[in-house]
């Protein structure tokens, strides 16, 4: 039955792995060049002591391709689910060929198990290889950007879990709905919904989040020039995944804007004498002190997962989605065994 499942699938497999080979060649050609550019950039910028600008230029020059490859890796598991999983059994129902294959000397369980093994494993292989290729290719830029969690969904091993889950979801939709196109649409909607729900509801809780609270403060330039220093970014936790960032006032309530105003109170009335520069300065300093006092009540509270959690999160997420896939697989086999069509 494995051989027959492969016979039915090999045309699709050839297209998918042909496309994968083309991408691999393109990445293999451009990848080493990127590594070279990266190495020279690091060595020159270190001698010039300005790595920030050089890194930004390096990132910018390759950002389009990096973005598109990222999208491709995110979409690949969806393709596996929608185009391989959903029609796999639904098409057999639609064209009536299930009546041919179910009346050969093979049990339905074996028939389904063979389809799952062949197409499912190829789906996982497809998404996994694509992810690993792109991860390798983009690694110089990922190192430079230092935003470890930004590309979490499109790097390393998570696409393997997504592909396994998407495939089983598609297969299940196909078995229940028995029509290819509605099953494909259902698969797409369900897969996107589960992914989004997982990102928002489950992933943040893989490890206890780090909560960092920072007080606002203002620093003032000479004269009337004013520079506010807000703790909007975290310099101490580079590359961490900021799950939430909220502002609290002195009473401990969450607020959306900061109600502090710098009022110098210096207003020159027409006809009245100009205040002396010293008086103006004193008034300004007093206003600044009031402002400082006001703004220091405010805190910015960050909930975040530090960059060091990246790999454990990759594993948790991958294993979770593979577990979903296995549960779906067991449910499906049980359903096909007992279902009385």
């Amino acid at each position: 039955m494995i051989r027959f499942a492969w016979l039915q699938f090999r045309a699709q497999a050839a297209i998918a792995f042909g496309a994968l080979a083309i991408i691999a060649i393109a990445l293999a050609i451009t990848g080493p060049h990127l590594v070279h550019v990266y190495d020279t950039m690091i060595s020159t910028c270190k001698s010039q002591k300005d790595c920030g600008t050089a890194a930004a230029a390096f990132l910018h020059s390759n950002s389009t391709l990096r973005t598109w490859l990222g999208i491709l890796v995110v979409v690949a598991p969806g393709i596996v689910g929608v185009f391989w999983g959903a029609p796999l059994v639904a098409r057999e129902f639609e064209t009536g060929t299930y009546r041919l294959v179910w009346t050969q000397s093979v049990s339905r369980t074996r028939w389904l198990a063979a389809k799952i093994s062949v197409v499912g494993l190829f789906g996982i292989l497809f998404a996994g290889l694509l992810s690993l290729m792109v991860t390798w290719w983009a690694s110089p830029m990922d190192r430079v950007s230092m935003n470890t969690f930004a590309n979490f969904d499109e790097r390393d091993i998570v696409p393997i879990g997504y592909a396994a889950f998407a495939f089983m979801l598609g297969l299940g939709a196909g078995v229940l709905i028995r029509r290819a196109v509605p099953a494909m649409a259902t698969t797409l909607v369900a897969f996107v919904a589960v992914r989004i729900a997982f990102i928002n509801l489950v992933r943040p809780h893989f490890a206890t989040a780090l909560v960092i609270s920072k007080h606002y403060s203002a620093s003032f330039g000479p004269g009337r020039g004013t520079v506010f220093s807000y703790p909007m970014t975290l310099t101490s936790n580079v590359g961490s995944w900021v799950i939430s960032s909220r502002t609290f006032n002195g009473a401990g309530n969450s607020v959306t804007n900061i109600a502090c105003k710098l009022v110098s109170g210096i207003r020159v009335q027409p006809g009245s004498p100009r205040p002396s520069p010293a008086a103006i300065k004193a008034r300004l300093r007093a206003a600044e002190a009031v402002f400082q006092k006001c703004i220091e009540q405010y805190r910015q509270v960050f909930t975040l997962q530090p960059a060091s959690h990246y790999w454990s999160f990759q594993w948790y997420e991958t294993v979770s989605f593979i577990a979903f896939a296995l549960v779906l697989c067991a449910a499906l086999i049980w359903w096909v065994r007992r279902r009385t069509w």
Partner: protein, 298 residues
């Protein structure tokens, strides 16, 4: 006489609708059985139940001494050609034969190859580009090469032109003669099956209306006509299947195993076609009659 297929009070319900109900029948070994009935009578349901594509809602079905599709070897003993002869449109003939060989331990590849050669088909041709007749022949080849003990064909000639239909039945009969195989063919047209069947089952209104050897059926049914008479006045051993009256004359289609003595009657033999139509009409008229009216002739 051993039975290869036996059902008892078999029923299949879809939602609130019964596709087949109170179906009790048996199919004897080594017969070529015509399963005839109007569209929607439950023929397809019965055949799909027999091969395990469906499971019964009520009653039991026993095929070759086991439950349909209870295990792969049970599946291997039954050849099935589904309605509209489904095949994989994008796979070639040779791939279909390959499938048969992979999925059936008793596969007779010599037979399958020979059959495809005899039909003059190009092995590399995709099933999707075959004509209806060629596709039916391919489906039949797949079913026969399993070397089944029981061959079930669901409306095999319904979508074929008369020539393809004749060729199909001819090849079927050639194989059947060589082997000890029981064949069940369903059709809504008795004319399709008349030449090949030696056993007849009429299924209508989801019940068996008539079943028996064609020979016996023809010897026990007669069309009698004579002066106008009421059906109740006929001897008790003559069961009226169909009656029609004019002002002066009555015509009855009766079932009896006794000789007809009344000299007033003109007696004529019936054809299979007459029989089937009479029983189907009867079924339509008495659709809600209880089970006891089920007629069994053996």
């Amino acid at each position: 006489m051993t039975n290869v297929l036996k059902t008892n009070e078999l029923g299949k319900q879809y939602g609130h609708k019964w596709a087949l109900r109170h179906c009790t029948l048996s199919i004897p070994k080594s017969k070529v059985v015509g399963l005839v009935g109007p569209n929607g009578a439950g023929k397809t349901t019965l055949l799909q139940l027999a091969v395990g594509l469906l499971s019964p809602t009520t009653g039991t079905i026993d095929v070759l001494g086991g439950r349909p599709a209870e295990n792969p070897s049970q599946l291997g003993r039954i050849g099935f050609v589904a309605q509209d002869t489904p095949t994989y449109a994008r796979l070639s003939i040779v791939k279909h034969l390959q499938m048969g060989a992979w999925l059936n331990p008793n596969w007779d590849s010599k037979f399958a190859d020979q059959r495809i050669d005899d039909l003059g088909l190009d092995r590399r041709q995709r099933a999707g580009s075959l004509s209806g007749g060629q596709r039916a022949q391919l489906a039949l080849t797949l079913a026969l090469a399993k070397r089944p003990e029981l061959l079930l064909l669901d409306e095999p000639v319904a979508s074929l032109d008369p020539l393809a239909s004749r060729e199909f039945l001819q090849t079927l009969m050639e194989v059947v003669e060589e082997r000890d195989v029981t064949v069940v063919l369903s059709s809504h047209l008795v004319a399709d099956l008349e030449r090949v069947c030696d056993y007849l089952i009429v299924l209508a209104a989801s019940k068996v209306q008539l079943s028996g050897d064609v020979e016996n059926l023809l010897e026990s049914h007669w069309r009698i006509s004579g002066p106008r008479r009421d059906a109740r006045d006929l001897p008790s051993n003559q069961h009226v299947i169909e009656e029609s009256h004019t002002d002066k004359q009555s015509t009855f289609l009766i079932r009896t195993t006794q000789p007809i003595h009344d000299p007033a009657w003109k007696i004529a033999a019936v054809t299979v076609d007459d029989l089937v139509l009479a029983y189907m009409k009867n079924a339509r008229d008495v659709e809600h009659q209880p089970l006891s009216t089920l007629r069994e002739v053996s």
